[in-house]
Subunit: 491 residues, 2 copies
């Protein structure tokens, strides 16, 4: 059975049961029911399990998992730890496919990790040789746009996406869903919070996402894996087909101690992880912001051919700093070709400006925002340039719309990948939270229009650098593969 | 004459003239006049210079600098390049102390830098042997809260500060004034934008700020200096008395080319600059955000005794990542002392939590925000801890106020430096620009109350790490000095 067939019932279940479902609105069993109903999962295949209540949210309950009249794909455990073994045995007896265990207090316990480890071992023994697999414990479970599943605390934007996320932290999934929507316009196809991952672990979800046709980009947050070589193999395989952006939690020595308290994970040596990521071709990031930065680049531009950036904007100090930030992130800012530079000098006046790359059009561009069309057209033609980066204030009033329209037109005409950096407009007056809100609305306007847009040159450059590196990695692989096809002559 | 006496007339002038002053509101000569008047500089000592107009902004004009009836301290040049030599000669003849030259188009020109260099040389020849010194050219000039001076585009918050800034970029001064006020509640005592710095350069302003009793913290943005060893000497001297936070523009190879176009500066090798900063004890930063981050730490907490941080918050993944960010910035997150850990276990329930450092109080702390008082009191007592860091959502409604009041009380009682990290509250719904504005209002509430508060653990940790490093540097210096006082025995 392929990984896809094996895990499809988890992400696209025909039937779901919630053990611990209740009408009490302060209980997780209630929240899970509502999350799933809100996503539009068909009520006739949703089974609240509760020995004491006749109906939960107007849906008929069953006392035990085994009493449900259909085969069960996806069983959510919203119950205290003390009855977990019994419910799991019930699942095995009912041949339920997935036990999604929200309950925590296992090997991640700071006070009695040994007791927790023992319990985890017992859970594994219960499912041994059965058709039941465990997601969790200490995980929030599954979000699936098309599978119509979600879990408590999670924002469900009304938009499907092509990114799938597997995370050992439930908090990260919750935060990411909202942050990715707001700042990046990134949306997810599937997400799983798998906590301690005692049975199905990062590798399993990774293998599923490789085969899943709805997943174009893979995001991982991983604290530890039980089988390192298997993870490495899967990661290597995945990176050949889809970009895998990995956020490793616990990569410092104290951070690694913290993963023990969080998911009972042995985080392992950072050096080994880095080597694994590099050799597999995965893209390592260090926080949620960077995870989104890199993912957004893959979603919004074609891969640049190389690392050479043109930088455009207005302001001398800003031009210097943008160049520093660009190069310190790994990109290059080469001098323009002489013929391009000569043509640029016909557009940008020679007072308080710069045209060597970076282009600093100073306040002249503020007086005439359409100057950007000409500048962009020119640098797009320079064979030395692989990517075009424009940094500018978001502006107010009519100038705001003019800038947007100008750049929208240019973006459509440019052959090379185009990235924007949008700052708030800070003028000779107090800046206020309301002005920041206006600035963010402009940012969202660009995002909605399909621009790749960041709040800083460093973040833009870092994301693009990592994207280019990934494509260089793929190229090398292809070359090596082709080389291996050439028959060697007998010496 | 001390540096203080020498430059005081620049920052606290008795008289100011604006050459090129005009009633035409689209001209810089008009903007400079208005900036100075708005700051409350006495009109009876403000002299518009214009051969063609009788009055500018209702103040009597004089045709030439020499015609002004008082000795001139501070003469602003808002004029085209072609008459600059003549006006400078006038200043010399009038024995004016400072010629503040806004005009650009000198050695920073991309098209004809040689011509620009020649002109700069001529300007230096004109003032040679005279009482007149040049600020600029290609600089915006001086902001001085008590000297009642400002320049166009600059936000003048109605608050005095203890930070002084010297910058080769005018744009950075303008942006910093607004950004420092909004995000950091940092205010400036003095600022100077000195552009190409052909006469007075970074070193001169640095020497002045060392002696200036109103300056407690020095901020520098420098692209290049003409006399390296002199700069190094001044920097070494300054760092013994006041923290100097230096942002070096053009520290990458393309960035260094960009400084040529900006201020005609030879940026020099990054490695040499880094060595200079390290040996002098200056704190190097890489962008405006970091400049403010570090400055804010010095303004708001006493120096921590060492690098060991306690981390508190709610959320497992967030605790792991906070620990990673803290350690990757250079701080340490040691395990708590056993007796403290034991007491912590009496406060934080053992399900889905962590108390080993980081403290992850999970959702329990959300149910009872006052739990933080007890936790903070405990970790404050741990001799292994030098600094206490708490990360949390900014919250909404009543919980928002409860959190604020709880932490305000704790802050007053804590013996160790306390730093906060405040995230937006992202819940199971769409986040909006208006919600971000509300979050920023909460951030500003903490800032106003005197909290040291950052938007990310990494930024908080990085700023504190650099602050502790600076104080360790001072300690070493004292030890070495004392050691050198011990008479050596004859061998």
């Amino acid at each position: 059975m392929s990984k896809l067939e094996k895990l499809n019932p988890l992400f696209y279940p025909k039937t779901v049961a919630v053990v611990g479902a209740t009408d009490n609105p302060s209980k997780h069993g209630n929240w899970y029911m509502r999350s799933i109903i809100n996503r539009g999962f068909p009520k006739e295949h949703l089974y609240p399990i509760n020995p004491n209540e006749g109906k939960v949210l107007e849906i008929k309950t069953y006392p035990r998992v085994q009493d449900v009249p259909e085969p069960l794909d996806h069983v959510i455990f919203a119950i205290p730890k003390k009855i977990i073994k019994q419910i799991l045995k019930d699942c095995v007896e009912a041949k339920a496919k997935f036990a999604v265990i929200f309950t925590s207090g296992f090997s991640e316990s700071d006070l009695d990790p040994e007791e927790g480890k023992k319990l985890e071992k017992e859970l594994l023994e219960i499912i041994s040789g059965s058709n039941t697999q465990i997601v969790g414990p200490n995980g929030m479970g599954v979000y699936s746009f098309e599978g119509r599943l979600s879990f408590p605390y999670l924002y469900n934007p009304p938009v499907n996406g092509s990114v799938s996320f597997a995370s050992q932290s439930g908090g990260h999934v919750v935060a990411l869903a909202t942050i990715a929507d707001f700042w990046f316009n990134i949306h997810f196809n599937k997400m799983v919070s798998f906590g301690n991952g005692i049975n199905l672990e990062a590798t399993d979800y990774l293998e599923y996402y490789i085969e899943d046709p709805k997943t174009k980009i893979i995001n991982l947050y991983v604290e530890g894996v039980r089988n390192g070589p298997r993870f490495f193999q899967a990661l290597k395989e995945a990176c050949r087909f889809k970009p895998v952006i990995v956020w490793k939690g616990g990569w410092t020595s104290a951070g690694s101690r913290a993963t023990l308290s969080h998911t009972g994970s042995l985080a392992g040596s950072n050096r080994i992880w880095q080597t694994v990521f590099k050799q597999a071709g995965a893209i390592q990031v260090h926080d949620m912001e960077e995870l989104c930065d890199v993912t957004m680049a893959f979603l919004r531009i074609n891969p640049p051919k190389g690392f050479n950036a043109a930088i455009l904007g207005g302001g001398g100090g800003q031009s210097v700093v943008s160049t520093d930030e660009c190069e310190s992130a790994g990109l290059k800012v080469p001098a323009f070709s002489p013929e391009i530079k000569e043509k640029l000098s016909g557009i940008v006046p020679d007072i308080g400006t710069g045209i060597a790359n970076p282009i600093d059009a100073s306040y002249f561009v503020y007086n005439d925002l359409s100057m950007y069309s000409k500048l962009l057209e020119l640098v797009d033609k320079d064979p030395k340039i692989d990517i075009i980066m424009l940094h500018h204030e978001s502006m107010w009033g009519a100038a705001k719309e003019l800038l947007f329209e100008t750049l929208k037109k240019s973006k459509e005409q440019l052959e090379k990948p185009f990235v924007m950096v949008l700052y708030p407009s800070v003028g000779p007056r107090e800046y206020t939270p309301e002005m920041e809100a206006e600035h963010l609305k402009v940012l969202k306007q660009y995002l909605k229009e399909g621009f790749l847009v960041y709040p800083s040159v460093y973040r833009a450059s870092n994301a693009i650098y990592k994207m280019v590196q990934y494509h260089k990695f793929l190229e090398c692989h292809e070359i090596l593969e082709k080389a291996s096809e050439i028959p060697l002559k007998a010496a």
